[in-house]
């Protein structure tokens, strides 16, 4: 057998990092010109003949996934050109093994632990002192009193639409706490709240919530269970139904709180046309623009959760809000520091000192992939 060992053509075999084992990473360098295919051969320790292990694609890198963990191998490649072939071999035995930790994911783990820790600590703190956590003013929340008040003055009822999602949706849950506050005001002012529903379970929960709210306001008898009713489960059927209620009952204040889909703008339009004060809130980002354009006050996405934490003073909600806030602060600081350092690094690089730019890029890589 005639073959050439040419200088430069070489092969490196390593255990594939961060995997579940059973794989060795083969890389070839300086593939000879005119190579048509590269054949891979493997010799297990103790064996005498190299066995075939497939082809290496033209880019010169592949994973041998037919290896057994713990068995040691030598590798040989043959680069075949039209008239001859070239050979390269590994000198040391290599074996594959599974890893216990995927090191490329270290940043994810760090973020997870830090963020999770902060949230948990603040939930505990909020349990001890629920009044202690401050939440900034939310105009939409302040507007509830005014809206219910004016509606009562005009002798009109209040309409509360809880959105189209089930009870598991975070937006629906927030909507229920906001309903609690609305219900109390309505009871105090001696007005009435109409609550059409898309989901039967949300309906039962809303009934309970309003009942409690009316009792707490000292007017349990004023609550009419029939004002909280089930409408339909069809999206546009629901929209048509609520439209009908708006036109018939002419509510003075309308609350659109919860998760909405495309029907959002139909509801907001009719509400606007009857001249009601509209206070909307949704965690459906795509529907927010329509609410902002057609309603008087809007709770934008996360503001809904802050509002419900503010009203209910539930430690788990307060703690999460505070935890997320700290994470945001950390992100802000990282962005600030990163931008300043990055700008400095670029300037230094332009002045002929590339070392800072190198550090900067490695930090960025570390954040996004974790292999800095």
């Amino acid at each position: 057998m005639i073959f050439f060992l040419i200088i430069g053509f070489s092969i490196v075999a390593n255990d594939t990092p961060n995997d579940a084992g059973g794989s060795i990473l083969i890389t070839t360098y300086n593939i000879p010109e005119g190579t048509q295919k590269i054949e891979l051969y493997r010799l297990a320790k103790g064996d005498t003949i190299y066995e075939e292990a497939g082809l290496i694609p033209p880019r010169g890198e592949c994973e041998d996934v037919s290896v057994v963990d713990g068995v040691e191998y030598l590798y040989r490649v043959r680069a075949i050109t039209e008239d001859t072939f070239y050979v390269a071999e590994t000198k040391e035995f290599i074996s594959s093994s599974p890893q216990w930790f995927n090191r490329t994911r270290i940043t994810v783990l760090l973020f997870f632990i830090l963020f999770g820790g902060v949230v948990l600590v603040y939930i505990e703190l909020a349990k001890k002192n629920p009044k202690g956590l401050f939440i900034r003013k939310l105009p939409a929340l302040d507007a509830i009193d005014e809206a219910v008040g004016r509606s009562t003055e005009m002798g009109k009822p209040v309409l509360f639409v809880p959105g189209l999602e089930g009870i598991t949706d975070a937006g629906t849950l927030a909507s229920i706490t906001i309903l609690e506050k609305v219900g109390k005001r309505v009871a105090e002012y001696g007005s009435r709240v109409i609550h059409p529903n898309f989901d039967p379970i949300v309906m039962t929960t809303a009934q309970e919530t309003l009942k409690t709210a009316f009792s707490e306001a000292g007017r349990p008898d004023a609550f009419n269970k029939d004002d909280v009713f089930y409408l339909t489960y069809e999206q546009f059927g629901f929209a048509a139904g609520v439209d009908g209620i708006m036109l018939r009952e002419k509510p003075g204040a309308i609350f659109l709180q919860g998760y909405f889909y495309a029907e959002s703008l139909i509801l907001a339009e009719t509400g606007y046309s009857i001249g009601a004060i509209q206070i909307a809130g949704t965690n459906a980002t795509t529907q927010l623009p329509f609410f902002v354009a057609a309603c008087d006050y809007v709770l934008l996405g996360e503001e809904m959760f802050a509002a419900s934490a503010y009203i209910s003073r539930e430690p788990r909600l307060l703690g999460s809000i505070k935890g997320s806030d700290l994470a945001k602060l950390a992100i802000l600081c990282l962005i600030g520091a990163g931008v300043i350092f990055g700008t400095f690094a670029v300037i230094a690089n332009n002045a002929g000192n590339p070392s800072y730019l190198g550090i900067f890029n490695r930090v960025l890589d570390f954040i996004a992939r974790g292999n800095g």
């Binding site: 489960y233 354009a293 934008l300 503001e303």
Partner: protein
């Protein structure tokens, strides 16, 4: 013949739905109920073919080495059906709900941190001394847009001070973003209307080139 019939049915149903523009009416209600009924059965066929057959029956029939593990989802799946039992037993379905909630929560945690939070954070760290001044300005606007928005959604703060001022800039940026989304959403709805109109004019009445 079948082709023509189907285009006429499809066209008729299209008009039924469009009749909603003149208010909720029996024709629309008819089409809507047909839709709900049809899609309910459609999903039954879907679950049978893609979930039960491909994910459960096929691996078991092929004697996949890992097929025995399917006992776990099947167990929880059947527990879900306890909803059909009287209230005394129906609480068992919570076990399966808990199972899906657990998987969902785990996935969200990992997916959002690795796929969104970290890469988006990295992408906001933009140097402001690139060679082109327009890039510098754009980078600056992106940084300010992101940071002020984050400040707006920073809730545990007082209503005065620097944070408050930043958050006021933030809300202006948020409104611009919502306006852009608004514009694109309107565009999408119009495109779908064009699609339907081309169906009516083209596929149905052959006046224009069909889709």
């Amino acid at each position: 013949m079948l082709e023509i019939l189907s285009v006429w049915i499809a066209g008729g149903l299209t008009l039924c739905i469009f009749s909603f523009l003149y208010g909720d009416n029996p024709v629309y209600k008819f089409a809507e109920h047909l839709y709900v009924g049809f899609s309910a059965a459609y999903w039954l066929i879907y679950v049978w073919h893609f979930t039960i057959k491909q994910m459960v029956i096929n691996p078991i029939a092929a004697r996949d080495p890992g097929a025995w593990m399917l006992i776990i989802p099947l167990f929880f799946g059947f527990l879900m059906l306890s909803r059909w039992l009287p209230e005394k037993y129906s609480w068992i379905s919570r076990w399966s709900i808990a199972f899906t909630v657990g998987i969902g929560a785990g996935l969200v945690t990992i997916g959002q941190i690795q796929g969104l939070l970290l890469p988006q954070l990295r992408a906001t760290i933009l140097p402001l001394a690139t060679g082109k001044w327009t890039t510098n300005i754009n980078n600056f606007i992106i940084i300010i847009g992101t940071t002020t928005t984050l400040t707006y959604f920073y809730f545990s703060r007082k209503d005065t001070g620097i944070m408050s001022r930043f958050s006021r800039i933030g809300i202006a940026f948020i409104m611009i973003a919502l306006g852009a989304a608004f514009g694109y959403t309107v565009m999408a709805r119009v495109s779908l209307l064009i699609g339907r109109m081309v169906f009516i004019l083209g596929n149905w009445f052959h006046i224009v080139k069909p889709l």
